[in-house]
Structures are given as structure tokens and as C-alpha cells.
């Protein structure tokens, strides 16, 4: 049972069947851990419900149902104290970027897609500018340009970070446009980049390390060998790459894993992607903590 802040309230004149007390005062409450609940309100005369008011939980008898069962509920008592306004409209992220780094197959794309879905009003994905050709299985994460166009962007200083990923099959440049990130900031949202070590280093050089909430993602496994075998398994399962490409990516992944230990200073938190919900929950917490900071 946690205390919280009243985000909104109403008084229902005609509650549903089985609720004898009427009218019922009900509130939408943000608890101190950031989760939200709907609960009935107890409003002493001195402190009528008001948005922003601090509330404390009280266990009480809610009603006795038709079968004679006594049903208890957690109701929230309004206190005289008004909390610091913790309102939606004040969520802005001037100058912050959320970076997700990890080897191929660790689940970066899945996580960032779900994150943007879950926190869509606060976050937006930064498109990756690439010179590689589109392929089946790409979601809308890339902005395709030719190698020449990429080099022009580079020369004009339109990119905040760029890298060339070694590949036998084609020349592949990747980067982020300065204007894409600025556009997301101007909407008051937090840009999310799905990235790898060189780009992370580049972003950090450009914006400064402290501007980036940098999360590293690792596959589960106690040894490097176990982690690599996890990645191999996941890549085969998703069927996005050919056998050749998987081999290539696995080699890069090996370097990526070394990078985590070599460049610890580039990460705020390292998360092991064993259970998707846990990882998402942790990231959300970090993002919301950023809002409150």
C-alpha cells in the first residue's frame, strides 16, 4: 500500500449494481512508485479532492455482496498537503537521448518498438540513415540513401554520428541526422536510438556523455560463449539474415561483447535481456526518473 498523488477525480452519482453507497467519490492516483491506480476516495471536510493533492491508502470495508461476503478495498484519503505538481504537460526532455546498445540478436529492435508503443507520448525512434539496400524484414527503422548521398551528408556535417560496419557483401554506412533528433526534441519527446558501439561513441562525442541515458543490453548467459550461442539461436529463429550474414554478425557481436567491458564508462546501466517485461519495466523506470529529475 503506497501513498500517491491525485491526478484526477470524479463523483459517480449512479454506481453499478452492488455498490450501495452513493454517490461514490473516485480518483485516478499516481502512486509513489510511478504506477497508477483507480480507487475510491475518502475526503475529509477540510481537504476536498483536488488535482495534485497527496493521498494516503486506507483499508476499509467496501460493501457486503449478495452472498453476504464482506469485501474490503484500499481507499485513498485526501490529505491537506498538495504534492509537487507532477503533471503530464511538464514532461520534456531537452537535450536528452535514450540509447540502446547491444549485439545483433539481443532484442534491441523489439525493445525499442515496444518502448515507443508503451511510452509513445514521451518517446520517438530516431531513424537510422544507411547506405545499405533495403531488405525483407526491415521495419520502418531505416532511411535509405545512396553511398554518395551519405558521403555528402557526412561532409556537410548533417550527421551527429556515423560508422562503417565491415561487411564482405556490401559497403554499409550508418548514421543519425542532426535534424531528426532536433525534430523529436522540438515535439517535447525523448529520442530513442537503437545503436552499436561506434555510433554510441560518436553520439557521446557530439552531445556529451551526460546527455545520453545509455543502456547496454546483453543476452542471458554466464560466459561469453553462452551469450554468443544465445545470439546465434535468436538470429536463426528470426530468419532475417542469411547464413553468411549470421556468421558476419556473430563476429561483430564478439567485438561488441568485448566492448561492454572495455567501454564501461559509456553505459549507465547494463541490462540482461532474459525476460522482456522486466527489461521494459526497468527502462520505463529510468525514463520516468529522467522526467522527474
Amino acid at each position: 500500500m503506497l501513498p500517491g498523488t491525485l491526478l484526477s477525480f470524479t463523483t459517480v452519482q449512479h454506481p453499478p449494481k452492488g455498490f450501495p453507497d452513493r454517490p461514490r467519490s473516485i480518483g485516478l492516483i499516481e502512486l509513489s512508485d510511478g504506477k497508477r491506480v483507480i480507487g475510491s476516495l475518502i475526503a475529509p471536510e477540510a481537504s476536498a479532492p483536488a488535482i495534485g493533492r497527496a493521498v494516503v491508502p486506507r483499508m476499509r470495508l467496501s460493501r457486503i455482496n449478495e452472498q453476504g461476503l464482506r469485501l474490503y478495498e484500499v481507499a485513498y484519503e485526501c490529505t491537506a498537503r498538495v504534492s509537487e505538481p507532477k503533471l503530464n504537460e511538464q514532461r520534456h526532455f531537452p537535450g536528452y537521448i535514450l540509447a540502446l546498445t547491444g549485439p545483433s540478436g539481443v532484442g534491441k529492435t523489439t525493445i525499442s518498438t515496444l518502448l515507443v508503443k508503451g511510452l509513445g507520448d514521451f518517446t520517438a525512434k530516431v531513424p537510422i540513415v544507411t547506405s545499405r539496400s533495403p531488405k525483407e524484414g526491415d521495419e520502418r527503422e531505416y532511411d535509405y540513401v545512396s553511398t554518395q548521398e551519405f558521403q555528402v551528408l557526412q561532409k556537410n556535417g548533417d550527421l551527429v554520428a556515423w560508422t562503417k560496419i565491415p561487411s564482405e557483401t556490401e559497403e554499409r554506412f550508418y548514421g543519425y541526422r542532426k535534424s531528426d533528433i532536433a525534430a523529436i526534441w522540438s515535439q517535447g519527446k525523448l529520442p530513442v536510438v537503437v545503436t552499436e558501439m561506434h555510433l554510441l561513441q560518436g553520439l557521446s562525442n557530439h552531445f556529451g556523455r551526460r546527455a545520453i541515458l545509455s543502456l547496454g543490453l546483453l543476452p542471458p548467459g554466464h560466459s561469453k560463449r553462452a551469450m554468443l550461442s544465445q545470439l546465434l539461436h535468436r538470429m536463426r529463429l528470426r530468419g532475417r539474415e542469411t547464413q553468411e550474414q549470421i556468421q558476419e554478425r556473430l563476429q561483430n557481436a564478439q567485438q561488441d561483447l568485448d566492448f561492454f567491458t572495455r567501454a564501461e564508462h559509456l553505459f549507465d546501466h547494463i541490462l540482461v535481456n532474459e525476460d522482456l517485461d522486466t527489461v521494459l519495466g526497468t527502462i520505463k523506470e529510468h525514463v520516468l526518473a529522467l522526467v522527474k529529475a
Binding site: 454506481p15 473516485i26 488535482i51 514521451f122
Partner: protein, 370 residues
């Protein structure tokens, strides 16, 4: 759309309190009305999609697919869909998918609801089935309560006043006067709305759509042609409980469905001439105008203060035309069709959601005036 789907005919019952008609009677009346103006016979119908939310709990009747099918001489295959107040538009969306796949060529889409036989308490409880039974219902919350929370928050964030909010239902009532199918065809002044009984603070009785009986039906076809075609049919969902969302003054599902619908129809929101939006409560109309891209956040009220080029809820909306839950989504499309034919404009949009925007469907209708 992957194939050209025409709206070849439609019909509906008057919305209202029909104590002498059963759910089956309402379904039959709407189907007959749709067939009366059809360019084909009933035998051309090769599939039926029925929309209904409360058949089991209010009318003791499930199995509405077969029930509706038995109204036709050749009993075509039929299914029933349910998505709370969005059932009607989800039925439209389902029919589009069946037509696009080639499974069917001419589909009867019909939505019906019979709500006025139950007491206020019973119907309130039944409708709460559209909310989250674990997160929302245990507190004794009702749908007016959910939108009361939303309205309270909206007023706090954007400074909307009670006087401004009164304008919403006033316009919807004014629009319903000329709609012969509307439940309430009487003008209401903003003062009358502001003085009506409190239901869920700050919402009053005349902020709320009524409990209604009614049915609406239409025929969609890839075989028969008409001047009305579907330019887009998009469906989107969100968390059922408002407690699981980052904001309650904007509905992500509406935004998403609207954006994808405009993309599918390849038009900008400014090209829409007529809009039927889901005003289950007055506050929902303002949020819808903002999420659909017709106003900036907090600015939806300007459509009621200074009406623009686009018609908003020309039928009277849910408030004044009535809201027999699953019939609404189909009725909206019928009304957009009528408005486009009357005005000669090319595009109209129907916006229908269930719960507090947990399911949202947006349809865009195109009218060929040649």
C-alpha cells in the same frame, strides 16, 4: 484498400426507446431498410457480419450471426463481432477484410442494440464490461465516471470552462433536429445543458449520450458498384484501463487509426468535408477533434465556438441521435454517405471507439460525384 469496396445501400431504424420491439425485430427492420434500396437482391449477400455488445447480458440472446442469417431466405454464413461501443465499425473493418481476401463479394453488415428494457443500474453494470474488470470496476467506477475523470483532468490541463463545454451538446442537439432517425430532435440551449443534473462531476446529464434501442445496416460489395466507396478502414487498440496510460487527455488509438487511415486514403485531414465522431460524452468530442488532427491539443472547442468548413456530427452525434452501442459505428458511415451525396464533396470520415478509446476504428468514405 486492396480492392474497390462500394457502399451499395444502407438503412436503419429510428434510434430511441422501442419497448414493443425485440433485438430480432430491430435487426430485421434495419436489414429490410438496407435491402429496399439495394441494387441487388438479398440472394446476392454471401456473408453477414453482425455487431452487438450486450445481447447476452441485456436480452438473453447470444448467437446473433445465425439469428440474423435466418432473417434471409438463403441463410448465408454469418459471424458476430464485439468490441464494446466500437462493435459497429469493427464489423465494417471485418467485412472489408473478408471482401479484400475474396472470401465474399457482397456482405451485409448490421449492428443492433436493445438497451432500454433494463434498469439504469443494470445497464451501467453491463456497459462496464467495456472497462477493465480488475483495474477499473472494483472501485465502483462507471463509464460516466471514467469520462468524468478525463474531463476533470482535461479542464485542469487546458483550462476548458463549463460554459465552453456546454456548446458541444448544444450543437449536436441542433444538428439532430433535421435528422428523422434521431432520438432527440429538440434544441437544447447551453444554459439548459449546464443546469442539467450532475452524473459524474464535472459531467452532467446532457453531456452524456443516452441509452437507446436501434439498428443500422449496410451492404458492402466488390461486385456491385456505387458512387460511394471506402477509401480507408483502419483499426487500432490501446490499454483497456485508463490507469495504464501515460495520459488520459488524448487517445493513442484514435491518433494511430486516423494517421493510418489518412495514409491509406492518401489524403490530408483538411480534405475531410464531413466528420461523424464518437461523442459518447461531450469531452470525448473535443479529444477526438484533437487526436484526429483537426485541432491542436486543448483547442478542440474551437470547432464549437466558431464552426469551420467541415460538418461535425451532422447527424446529431451519439448525444442527440442516440447511441444503441453496436449500431453507432454503422450509423455513422450511413450518415457520412448521406452527407457526401447531399453536398457533393469527395471525402468524409467516421470515428468510432470502444471503452475509453481502447479500440478505435476510423473509416474514410469517398464519393464519386461524376
Amino acid at each position: 484498400m486492396q480492392s474497390e469496396i462500394s457502399l451499395i445501400s444502407f438503412g436503419q431504424t429510428k434510434f430511441g426507446e422501442w419497448w414493443n420491439k425485440s433485438l430480432r425485430d430491430l435487426l430485421g427492420e434495419a436489414v429490410d431498410a438496407a435491402l429496399a434500396s439495394a441494387p441487388c437482391t438479398a440472394l446476392d449477400i454471401d456473408f453477414i457480419v453482425v455487431a452487438n455488445m450486450l445481447g447476452e447480458s441485456m436480452n438473453g440472446q447470444a448467437h446473433l450471426g445465425a439469428l440474423t442469417s435466418s432473417l434471409l431466405p438463403h441463410r448465408p454464413p454469418a459471424i458476430r463481432v464485439e468490441a464494446a461501443c466500437a462493435s459497429g465499425s469493427v464489423a465494417m473493418h471485418t467485412a472489408c477484410a473478408l471482401l479484400e481476401s475474396g472470401r465474399a463479394e457482397t456482405i451485409l453488415v448490421v449492428g443492433a442494440e436493445k438497451m432500454t428494457d433494463a434498469s439504469t443500474e443494470e445497464i451501467t453494470t453491463g456497459l462496464m464490461g467495456a472497462a477493465d474488470s480488475e483495474r477499473d470496476a472494483p472501485s465502483g467506477l462507471t463509464f460516466p465516471g471514467i469520462f468524468g475523470l478525463i474531463a476533470q483532468r482535461y479542464m485542469h490541463e487546458f483550462g476548458l470552462t463549463r460554459q465552453q463545454l456546454n456548446l458541444v451538446s448544444a450543437l449536436h442537439h441542433a444538428n439532430a433536429i433535421t435528422n428523422p432517425f434521431a432520438q432527440f430532435r429538440a434544441a437544447m440551449t447551453p444554459d439548459q445543458i449546464g443546469a442539467s443534473a450532475l452524473v459524474a462531476d464535472p459531467l452532467r446529464l446532457l453531456d452524456c449520450s443516452p441509452v437507446s434501442d436501434g439498428a443500422a445496416a449496410c451492404l458492402l460489395s466488390t461486385k456491385h458498384r456505387s458512387d460511394l466507396t471506402l477509401a480507408a478502414s483502419q483499426l487500432s487498440t490501446d490499454t483497456v484501463s485508463i490507469a495504464d496510460r501515460p495520459t488520459i487527455t488524448s487517445f493513442a488509438a484514435t491518433k494511430d487509426a486516423a494517421m493510418r487511415a489518412c495514409e491509406e486514403a492518401n489524403i490530408e485531414p483538411q480534405q475531410i468535408a464531413h466528420l461523424e465522431l464518437h461523442d459518447c460524452f461531450s469531452i470525448a468530442a473535443l479529444i477526438a477533434l484533437e487526436d484526429l488532427g483537426f485541432a491542436e491539443p486543448g483547442n478542440g472547442i474551437r470547432w464549437y465556438e466558431q464552426p469551420g468548413q467541415m460538418t461535425v456530427n451532422g447527424s446529431g452525434g451519439l448525444k442527440a441521435c442516440g447511441h444503441p452501442v453496436a449500431a453507432t459505428g454503422i450509423k455513422q458511415i450511413i450518415d457520412i454517405g448521406k452527407q457526401l451525396r447531399a453536398s457533393g464533396n469527395p471525402y468524409g470520415m467516421a470515428h468510432n471507439f470502444g471503452g475509453a478509446g481502447a479500440t478505435c476504428a476510423v473509416h474514410i468514405l469517398h464519393h464519386e460525384n461524376a
